[in-house]
Amino acid sequence: MSHVLVIYTDDEPGVLTRVAMLFRRRGFNIHSLTVGPTEQVHVSRMTVVVDTDEATARRAVEHLRKLVNVLEVQQLGHGRNVVRDLALLRVSTAQGRSEVLQLVQVFRANVVDIADDSVVIECTGSLGKIEALVDSLRPFGILELGRTGAVAMARGLRSEASNRLAAAAVVAPGSTGAMSV
């Protein structure tokens, strides 16, 4: 069962190490992890998809909350969130370019580069959609595949978590010269 965790952290070097180390050390299985800036300066946001049971996911949340650089952790409820992954695929067109392009259209993906014998396709969507596209293109020959991992957000109103986050954000002592490694 996969669970989606959204982690808000101070934007400082080494936070990723701390989070990754925690997952490794406690034996939580990471399916994907993405990190990037947020609407607030000094705050980063990670989306972590873990393959585990509900109790373990909850324990992961409690462990994450103990990290000093972690501002807030949300465990997204099932079905009530938007989860998006981006994939780039280089696909062989040796067996016919038009069939490949047709599939690209069906999946509402984009061709972003065309070479003599291959195309590069960009596709954004749910994990399921990307997997389906990959499966459909496999017979043509996938020469290269890169995926970002999921970025997720709860549907509906701005979450209680991010409201609290706004209140909690401070410029950390580590955010300039003192790095929390």
């Binding site: 101070d10 080494g14 190490t17 701390r18 180390m21 050390r25 109790a55 909850r58 324990r59 409690e62 462990h63 909350r65 103990k66 990290l67 000093v68 650089n69 972690v70 501002l71 909690a168 401070v170 950390a172 002592p173 580590g174 300039t176 010269g177 003192a178 790095m179 929390s180 490694v181």
Partner: protein, 572 residues
């Protein structure tokens, strides 16, 4: 006022209330040492940096205050590792300050550069790499706040040489920490408190599991109030010994692998376990599947990640123990559990006949006798600092701790070599206390160089070396589970009396129980550190014992003795 980074370090320590630090100098921390003499802070020069951490740890455990360590980069910093892990596993508040190579050299494998923040990441609560003088105060202030708040733990601040040499203005107010408050421990949900109350008020066979958290939270009075009001007996974890008084009528004694059989039996037959500031370590639960199968479980802990970690609980009460109990107490009903208490007492009687303490003096000296007599002679009022092994378990079984912070021992890590340095730290924290080291011949040889630290610092501790000629606890496992193949467990020792002489301290040897009292009296009278080597029975074993992975009630008992000297001689 403009100061150097080094001056800011000491200024911050002073303002944090630090009076004593434990350390060892070297190149990368030299600017800080150079500035030290301007400040009224006592520096204890250790003989190995690992011992500096154990001293700071003993200091913290004895006093409840945050211990402070200073070391240089590279090998100085890596020598801290075992001490930090020891403190981490036992939730001890420490701040370690290490020097680091200049920031321009970071990442170049410069002389004595090691990535100590990387190395200590999983064994500290948090750590910092500081590269500018102006960042020192915020990092140190936050380090103290993080170390002592919530579930305490060690924090390391690595400061580059140029940051120590650079100049900055100390903005104390501006450096006030806030991040440690981000995740203030939750208060338990009202409905969970109510459910806990229903269970407590309905229980017929309740047992309180008393852990280290009682000490850390200062919740002794509340725990006793709960126990007395509802007549609930309490069993202690190793680190819970002393958190509640052993001589209390409701105290059962230590639980777990070497817990008394009646204690483990009570846990196994309980209908309600109230776990207070303990974490169901494998050494106290035995095989999880068969742990307390009939009991509902209420778990109070300040660290929410501990709840439901190993033992699924019926009522999770995340929060500060003292506050949680204060919330519960007004609604706890007075109860009478006489039949349950009687039943436990009957199990207890059965154990007393096997008790080595009740064996006649057969001319051999048993470690259990030493502990028992030491307890009597010191009226149970000493602070005892134990090392790790059989002697540690015998101490826990036969020295009954009533006072808070009166037993200091490495529980979670089981770090040999801990006792002597930790005792020196404890004595410095509580000069008025009588401090005893109880160490094995193996563990004592790991850190005995610190005897010289005690001499140089004028620290008096009393040392009991329990010399059985073996790494006894490992030998016991070999005897029980490896068909008696004593691989690498026989261990030779130096002549400890001569060793004491070489350090210029009092030393003597005891081989008969009848000589014990006078020797202990002489050691206590010594103005300085004194050492007694007890030559004890070599192949004695700690009983009862729950083998690793066995169910908690599945205990290996001391073979029943004959003749029986006396039964139930001692009430405690």
């Amino acid at each position: 006022m403009d100061r150097t980074g080094a001056q800011i370090i000491w200024e911050c320590l002073l303002r944090e209330g630090v009076e004593t630090v434990f350390g060892y100098p070297g190149g990368a921390i030299l600017p800080t040492y150079d500035a030290m003499t301007e400040y009224p802070i006592r520096h204890v020069l250790v003989r190995h940096e690992q011992s500096a951490v154990h001293m700071a740890d003993g200091f913290a455990r004895a006093s409840g205050r945050t211990g402070v360590v200073v070391a240089t980069s590279g090998p100085g910093a890596t020598n801290l590792v075992t001490g930090l892990a020891t403190a981490m596993l036992d939730s001890i508040p420490l701040v370690a300050i290490t020097g680091q190579v200049g920031s321009g050299l970071l990442g170049t494998d410069a002389f004595q550069e090691v990535d100590i923040t990387g190395i200590t990441l999983p064994i500290t609560k948090h750590n910092y790499l500081v590269t500018r003088a102006q960042d020192i105060a915020p990092a140190i202030r936050e380090a103290f706040a993080v170390a002592s708040s919530g579930r305490p733990g060690p924090v390391l601040v690595d400061i580059t040489k140029d940051a120590q040499q650079g100049r900055a203005t100390l903005d104390w107010e501006g450096a006030a920490p806030t991040r440690h408050l981000r995740h203030i421990p939750p208060s338990p949900a009202e409905v969970d408190l109510d459910r806990a109350l229903v269970m407590i008020n309905a229980a017929k066979r309740p047992v309180i599991l008393a852990g280290h958290g009682i000490q850390l939270s200062g919740a002794r009075a509340e725990v006793l109030a709960l126990a007395e009001l509802a007549q609930i007996p309490f069993a202690e974890t190793l680190l819970g010994l002393g958190a509640v008084p052993a001589s209390h009528a409701l105290s059962l004694g230590m639980m777990g692998m070497h817990g008394e059989s009646w204690v483990n039996q009570a846990i196994q037959e309980a209908d309600l376990l109230i776990a207070l500031g303990m974490r169901f370590d494998d050494r106290v639960t035995g095989r999880l599947k068969e742990y307390a199968p009939n009991a509902l479980k209420i778990h109070v802990d300040i660290d929410a990640s501990e709840i439901n970690k190993l033992v699924p609980v019926d009522v999770p009460l995340g929060g500060d123990l003292k506050q949680v109990l204060q919330a519960l107490l007004p609604s706890v009903k007075a109860a009478d559990h006489t039949p349950w208490l009687e039943r436990i007492r009957s199990w207890r009687g059965d154990s007393a006949v096997r008790d080595i303490k009740n064996l006649p003096d057969d001319g051999h000296l048993y470690a259990a006798h030493v502990m028992h007599d030491l307890w009597k002679i010191t009226k149970g009022e000493a602070v005892v600092v134990t090392d790790v092994g059989q002697h540690q378990m015998w101490e826990a079984q036969y020295y009954h701790h009533d006072g808070e912070r009166s037993l200091i021992t490495s529980g979670g890590a089981g770090t040999m070599g801990f006792a002597l340095p930790a005792a020196i730290g404890a004595k410095l924290a509580r000069p008025e206390a009588e401090v005893w080291v109880v160490a094995g011949d193996g563990g004592f040889q790991m850190t005995f160089a610190e005897l010289m630290t005690a001499v140089q610092e004028g620290v008096k501790v009393n040392i009991a070396i329990i010399n059985n000629g073996y790494l006894g606890m490992v030998r016991q496992w070999q005897a029980l589970f490896y068909e008696g193949r004593y691989a690498a467990t026989p261990i030779l020792s130096p002549d400890f009396v001569k060793l004491a002489g070489a350090f210029g301290i009092h030393g003597e040897r005891v081989e008969k129980r009848s000589d014990l009292e006078a020797a202990v009296a002489r050691a206590r009278q010594q103005p300085g550190t004194a050492l007694i080597e007890f030559k004890v029975e070599q192949e004695d074993a700690v009983y009862p014992m729950v083998a690793a992975g066995a169910a908690l009630h599945d205990m290996i008992r001391r073979p029943s003795p004959s003749p029986i000297a006396e039964t139930g001689a001692d009430p405690v």
